[in-house]
């Protein structure tokens, strides 16, 4: 979801939360419209809810309560911080502390190995940790003259072997997504030790 959509939903949820909250408080007689809404425009809209017949009262309270809860849930969902992958992968943890490697380093290692396979023009990898081992998703741009199934199998075997060798961690899955078109160069520039 884009930032714009997210902001829009947050604003709508806030408006709905305020409106349904005000209607509920007015209908239940907890507050007067003038207390809830300093602006005359909003207070005028709340006045009809002060004198509802029993049938409408039940419907108004029920519908307002449901909308209030829905808007509250939407707001909580949208404001909840996104889960982001940890920037480091733990190779080992013992009594002496942790040994970690930067996730970007593993991605580049994977990209580099993929690029060594004949027919692979460029590669972009994603590495995730799973309970059973590392999961590698490798997107490659390939030479159309080559056999994609053979190339993909070679890539899967090679990435599994190389990453397990260099990192000492099991690789649970290697997914390959091959395309003929060049990959977009959206990876941020590599940082190097000087």
């Amino acid at each position: 979801m884009t930032v714009f959509n997210r902001v829009l939903i947050i604003l709508l949820a806030i408006v709905l939360l305020v409106a349904t909250g005000a209607v509920l408080l007015t209908t239940l007689g907890v507050s007067q419209p003038a207390q809830l809404a300093p602006a005359p425009w909003f207070a005028d809209r709340l006045v009809p809810f002060t004198q509802l017949d029993p049938m409408l009262f039940d419907w108004t309270v029920g519908a307002s309560a449901v909308l209030f809860l829905v808007s509250l849930a939407l707001l909580v969902i949208e404001l909840r911080p996104e889960r982001r992958a940890a920037p480091r992968i733990t190779l080992k943890q013992d009594g002496l502390g942790r040994v970690t490697v930067a996730r970007d380093g593993v991605r580049e290692l994977s990209d580099r190995e993929a690029g060594r396979i004949a027919g692979v023009m460029s590669a972009r990898s994603q590495v995730e940790e799973a309970p059973t081992g590392l999961r590698i998703q490798c997107r490659i741009s390939v030479d159309p003259a080559r056999s994609v199934p053979e190339m993909s199998q070679e890539l899967q075997e090679r990435l599994k072997a190389v990453v397990e060798h260099h990192l000492g961690l099991p690789v649970a899955q290697v997914s390959v997504d091959a395309q003929v078109a060049p990959l977009p160069s959206d990876r941020r520039p590599h940082r190097r030790v000087q």
């Binding site: 190779l91 040994v99 490697v101 930067a102 190097r192």
Partner: protein
Amino acid sequence: MSSASVFVSEVNLARAVVVAVRAIPGVVDVSPGLFAEAATYGPGERVTGVVVSRVGGALDIQVHVCARYTDSLVLPELAARVRIAVRQSVEALGAGPLALIGVAFDDVCVEGELSA
């Protein structure tokens, strides 16, 4: 031989650790850290790449390194060599008991790319 330790400042210890780690085959250099600066600060100076702190009198040393990418590179083995080098540096200085030695590989560098 006495096992008593002498006080060595964090910065001096960090400097010794940097020298020892740089000498390990497979280590290109210490790394300044990826997300926050990894350094040990002293009066008017800092040593980047190694964070030395004391927790309850024991030393906590975190080393950030850039590893040299070769076919024979095995990061857990390299981490073990880094830990040995750190331990030897601390023992050579008589700097006190070691609690933790963390190793963080911030980058895996290829020889050709480094010289470019």
